[in-house]
Symmetry: C2
Subunit: 332 residues, 2 copies
């Protein structure tokens, strides 16, 4: 069974072989395979969107995905919700000495597969190998570039704007949590990890009044909504009975005393759109398989306190603060 050694990160013969046999073979494209210090790409006409994320998720493989799929989707989604069409990714690997080549190949295959699906090229990479005990299997950084083709939602919120989520909440976080060493639940929990570039395209085609789109990852929906409202003179009101949450996620969160509104998603977005366009956007995305359970969950209000409020099942209104402390370390 072949293992990754420190020599694979040395920049010498073994590095070159790993790069050619594995990365070039799966990420195969002209730009990457020139193997220069930097990759050259043709001019991109338009506003560029750039984002970076490091992924340290544990476990590396989980129902619905693995660290490779997660890394590519996470970066594609950050570009997509900014209104950009994802074009190129870079991938930086930090691998622990002794890591098995077989799961490494599976992870690289996952990255190649979902990149291809999203029509995104992985054009530059880097591999470092660290000694045993200086990493947890592997970490991946993905940095992405895209171009704004239609428009970049401008963030200005107006009272009456509707808040849409593209589907069930908390799936990724609950799935990862259930697979941790300490908690091996037998469950149907599956990560929602998916690339959202088509969903954002549908949204931007359906309305030119999208205020903002975001993917509620770490900290969950509640944290994302707080970030969106914090520098405004508005508030948000969310209706508990409209929140799409899968029964298995709700039960799992109940069991651990977690609130699914603070649990990470990796294939969902929140979109705030003018009241008049909201039903049009909702119907449009409900036709896409990744957002068939989309729902309008609340609205922007004139309350100047810039807070997020939840109208509960029982009719009470309570504040949904930003997440504090560490809910679920290494969820992505």
């Amino acid at each position: 069974m072949e293992l990754v050694t420190l020599a694979h990160g040395s920049g010498g013969t073994e590095s070159a072989k790993l790069i050619k046999d594995l990365f070039f073979s799966y990420f195969n494209n002209d730009i990457l395979c020139t193997q220069s210090d930097a990759s050259l790409i043709n001019p991109i006409p338009g506003v560029l969107a750039v984002t970076t994320d490091s992924f340290v998720v544990t476990p590396l493989f989980f129902p619905g995905g693995d660290i490779g799929k997660l890394a590519v989707c996470g970066t594609i989604n950050d570009l997509s919700v900014s209104g950009a069409t994802p074009l190129y990714l870079t991938a930086g690997f930090i691998i622990e000495e002794g890591f098995n080549m077989c799961p490494l190949e599976k992870i690289v295959y996952s990255m190649a597969k979902v990149s291809k699906l999203a029509n995104v090229k992985i054009i530059a990479g880097d591999t470092k190998v660290v000694e045993k005990g200086k990493c947890d299997g592997m970490y991946i950084n993905t940095t992405g570039f895209g171009v704004v083709e239609k428009y970049a939602p401008n963030h200005k919120l107006t009272a009456g704007d509707q808040i849409i989520v593209s589907g069930s909440l908390g799936d990724h976080g609950a799935c990862i949590m259930s697979k941790r060493d300490m908690l091996t639940f037998e469950s149907r929990l599956t990560s929602d990890c998916a690339p959202l570039h088509e969903v954002t395209e549908v949204i931007l085609n359906a309305s030119s009044n999208v205020r903002v789109m975001r993917d509620p990852t770490r900290g969950g929906l509640a944290t994302t909504l707080n970030e969106l409202i914090e520098n405004t003179d508005k508030s948000m009101l969310i209706y508990e009975d409209r929140l799409p949450i899968k029964e298995e996620v709700r039960s799992f969160c109940d069991l651990l005393g977690l609130d699914p509104l603070y649990v990470a998603n990796e294939g969902k977005l929140v979109c705030i759109v003018s009241q008049e366009d909201s039903l049009k956007v909702l119907k449009a995305i409900q036709n896409h398989p990744l957002s068939k359970d989309a729902a309008i969950i609340g609205e922007v209000t004139d309350n100047r306190s810039n807070k997020v409020y939840l109208k509960t099942y029982l009719g009470a209104t309570k504040r949904l603060p930003m997440a504090t402390g560490e809910l679920l370390p290494r969820i992505c």
Copy 2:
């Protein structure tokens, strides 16, 4: 003494505070501080160069630099030697729980300082915190992009082309090695870690016949030369008596049985240029403080074996193969 906690990587209140107080404060620029999922930048007219690198150097601080300076310079240099003017960087941090805020701030300050010097903006970032024992203090990924303003050297080597190095060889690797736990030498060894964007600009201004530029990092000069020659029908001949190597680096390498030609550099480049332009390029870069010790060390030859040969002090010719195995783990 404030320490980094898992909460600083949670995406919640503590993450937001760390980002604002530390990263926004040092990397301060309009693009970064919009704090979106992706940063938007105006169209860049021209061919883009893109590169990514993860830095796992140990120790984090060393004579001549630290992991932050190294990460920024490394990425600037990869862009510069490709013929591009570096414009923007992203920075992804993986930090070990319990890391002290004070060295973290020093590292971020180093990154800000050298970026400013190179007129490069850090426009997107990410911070993940992992549990104790799952990292070695901190790792940084920097991804950079720039624009080709003059020309991107085209790599076609011709017999007679001259091989120039911009200064003394092996300084970074020898310095890092001397500071490792097991080997605490008292020495004057200092890393050459520096941004080379001005040196490459001088080179491209001096000649339109630059075949290729590279920064010989991991694997050292010998590995870089082998990479450059491997897919050609030429060879290279290097003269031992022309190699600029500092006395302290030579002694240190002798002591450990290392060959400075395989030891990493982080502020040097190798440039191959047409014979007729070689003296012009040499003289031009000798006027820049970062390349005042530049030398022509050899030439491209018609020998079709695509190998690198060294003419020794004694007049013998021996092959300089590519590095194999792991010479110096975690040098960058």
